[in-house]
């Protein structure tokens, strides 16, 4: 079964385009779940390749938490983010830690109640969405990630269908919360579409 490849000298290797997403915050904010939902939506419902990796501290709730999704039409080798195209920051600590890895002109989605200070703000496309407050009004802060996914959707609509995200949300949240998570998703989407996010 071993594969042997060879390449003529001087030959170029085709490099696959990647779209790189990083989500970071505290454990319990749904950071890992967003990554899984995006990954599943791209992989199963859009026919693309995606790799989702996570890192978290020994404490599951309250510790620093990060999730990354790399999307490509081709094969994905390095599984982590190299230069993020999109960064969702749920805490000031997360923003401070990872902002340097967001490429210039990249999308930064944040909650202004927990992220107050964005250094060199003009370098990025910054979208402010009060995800925590909106989630609280819908039924609890645990729906914050679905609000964020909704607010994110118009920004990546050229790559993914709304139905793909809805399917992935439905498959990755507890069955009894599907309806309310989808409502949170819609609320976030409406907020972004109405242009309130900027």
């Amino acid at each position: 079964m071993s594969t042997q490849g060879s390449l003529k000298r001087g030959c170029k290797v085709e490099k696959n385009e990647r779209f790189e997403i990083r989500i970071a915050g505290f454990g319990g904010q749904g950071v890992v779940t967003i990554g899984r939902i995006l990954g599943e939506a791209f992989t199963l419902y859009e026919g693309k390749n995606s790799v989702n990796t996570q890192s978290y501290g020994p404490e599951s709730r309250g510790g620093a938490c990060r999730s990354e999704v790399v999307v490509s039409e081709g094969e994905i080798h390095y599984p982590n983010v190299r230069k993020a195209d999109l960064f969702i920051a749920f805490s000031q600590v997360a923003l401070n830690t990872y902002i340097a890895d967001l490429r210039e002109g990249g999308i930064l989605l944040l909650d202004p109640s927990s992220v107050k200070d964005v250094p060199r703000r003009d370098k990025y496309q910054v979208y402010e969405v009060p995800t925590m407050e909106m989630a609280h009004n819908i039924g609890g802060v645990k729906f914050q990630n679905s609000v964020a996914l909704g607010a994110l959707y118009p920004l990546i609509a050229h790559m993914i269908k709304e139905s793909s995200l809805r399917k992935a949300i439905s498959g990755n949240v507890p069955p009894e919360t599907v309806e309310i998570n989808l409502r949170a998703f819609e609320r976030g989407m409406r907020y972004a579409k109405e242009g309130k996010a900027k």
Binding site: M1, S2, T3, Q4, G5, S6, L7, K8, R9, G10, K12, V13, K15, G35, R36, G39, E40, T43, L44, N49, S50, V51, N52, T53, Q54, S55, G57, P58, H77, Y78, P79, N80, R82
Partner: protein, 399 residues
């Protein structure tokens, strides 16, 4: 609060065993290995939870009963590994998954499984050490895989690098284990264990599944059966099928007799075990190569790091025209020295990026020291190397 399940309900086994249907799935590495194990016909999981291998155990607790298998949470990792030995001698395929500290506790049972020639599969989702270390990724157990168990016993260890390979190589691990009657280790980094990626599941009839040889398969009558004889891989009798079953982890002769002390018996017994695996390294071990033609510099890698290495190789060609060759060890042990020497001619530098302080660098140096100017280790602890980091170390060395 949901009603607490009664004991009898918890043990219910679905009447229609359901394996994954062919198709594309989105799974975590820690889960994909369980699906691979089920496809390979494994029906016992005995384990003890530990981060970052918890998802494997959790998923096994759901999936094994669904296909008519058994899931047992043991009191610790020692008992888990011993339960695999018992299950295997009971005639079924068995597995567990653990991480560093638990892997240490399993070493005695691994040694006993080597000596008693017990097929079983252990998956080590490696975390950083020593001690309790960190729960982040590492490749720090690969020498323990080879040398951690007491005595002079050989081992087979595989290194998957993707969710697909967690499935594929777990099947291969069971096949090797049954074919060579030996414990097989799957050495995974936390990176791959916690990775979510697509998994393509073929239909069950497309998957090759190897079963252990029994004496009746070879036409050996019960009165003629030598529990440790007949072939370099002795046929293994099941309890209850008319053959004398002889479980021995002491030095033994072909008939299983342990009462005659003789250094020759010791030599014969251990040498046969060693030859069984090391003497068949070319049948057992696999390596993958790419872009080797005309390269002066080569990266030799394994596991998750091989994905970074490939990214670095592609970058180097694109950015500076530097042509690096790629060699990936799919099998870590037995070490494919001869195959490596066939593939790698005269090169300048061999780079070995690893998530440890340079473990595999040693057998690679031993195998290839006359084929290159230098073997250079590129270590990283606690995190997967970035392609930039690997390239910076390479440029530093060759400029």
């Amino acid at each position: 609060m949901p009603k607490k399940a009664r004991r009898s309900e918890a043990a219910t086994i679905s009447p229609e065993p359901h394996f994954l249907k062919p198709g594309k799935y989105y799974l975590q590495g820690n889960q994909a290995c369980i699906e691979g194990a089920l496809m390979a016909g494994c029906c016992v999981y005995a384990g003890y939870p530990i981060t970052p291998a918890v998802e494997t155990m959790e998923y096994a607790s759901k999936r094994f009963p669904q296909v008519g298998g058994r899931f047992i949470q043991m009191e610790d990792e020692i008992a888990s590994a011993c339960a695999l030995i018992g299950s295997s001698w009971g005639g079924v395929k068995a597995m567990t998954a653990t991480s560093g500290p638990g892997f240490s506790l399993m070493q005695e049972a691994i040694s006993i499984a080597i000596m008693s020639e017990t097929p079983m599969v252990i998956i080590d989702i490696q975390r950083a050490g020593p001690g309790q270390g960190y729960i982040t990724a590492s490749q720090q157990d690969i020498m323990q895989a080879r040398w951690g168990h007491h005595g002079d016993g050989p081992i087979i260890a595989l290194a998957p690098s993707s969710v697909q390979e967690m499935f594929d190589l777990t099947i291969e691990a069971f096949n090797l284990s049954e074919r060579w009657r030996t414990p097989v280790l799957v050495m995974v980094e936390e990176t791959v264990g916690h990775m979510w990626e697509s998994l393509i599941v073929p239909s069950r009839d497309e998957i090759e599944v190897i079963e252990r040889k029994k004496p009746q398969d070879l036409g050996i009558m019960p009165q003629d059966y030598l529990p440790w004889g007949h072939d370099i891989v002795a046929p293994m009798a099941n309890w209850g099928e008319g053959y004398n079953v002889n479980f021995v982890a002491l030095v033994h002769l072909e008939d299983g007799n342990i009462s005659r002390y003789s250094p020759q018996a010791n030599y014969h017994c251990v040498e046969r075990l060693q030859n069984k695996i090391e003497g068949n390294v070319n049948q057992i071990a696999r390596i993958e190569t790419k872009f080797l033609e005309g390269c002066k510099h080569i990266i030799v890698c394994y596991g998750a790091v091989s994905r970074t290495a490939m990214e670095a190789i592609i970058d180097a060609r694109e950015m500076s025209g530097l042509e690096l060759g790629y060699v990936r060890l799919v099998t870590l042990w037995p070490f494919p020295e001869e195959k490596l020497r066939e593939i790698i001619g005269d090169v300048d530098t061999i780079f070995v990026p690893e998530m440890n302080l340079g473990m595999m660098k040693h057998p690679i140096t031993e195998a290839l020291r006359d084929r290159c100017r230098k073997v250079v280790s590129i270590p990283s602890l606690g995190i997967l190397h970035s392609p930039e980091y690997i390239l910076s170390k390479i440029y530093e060395e060759i400029s």
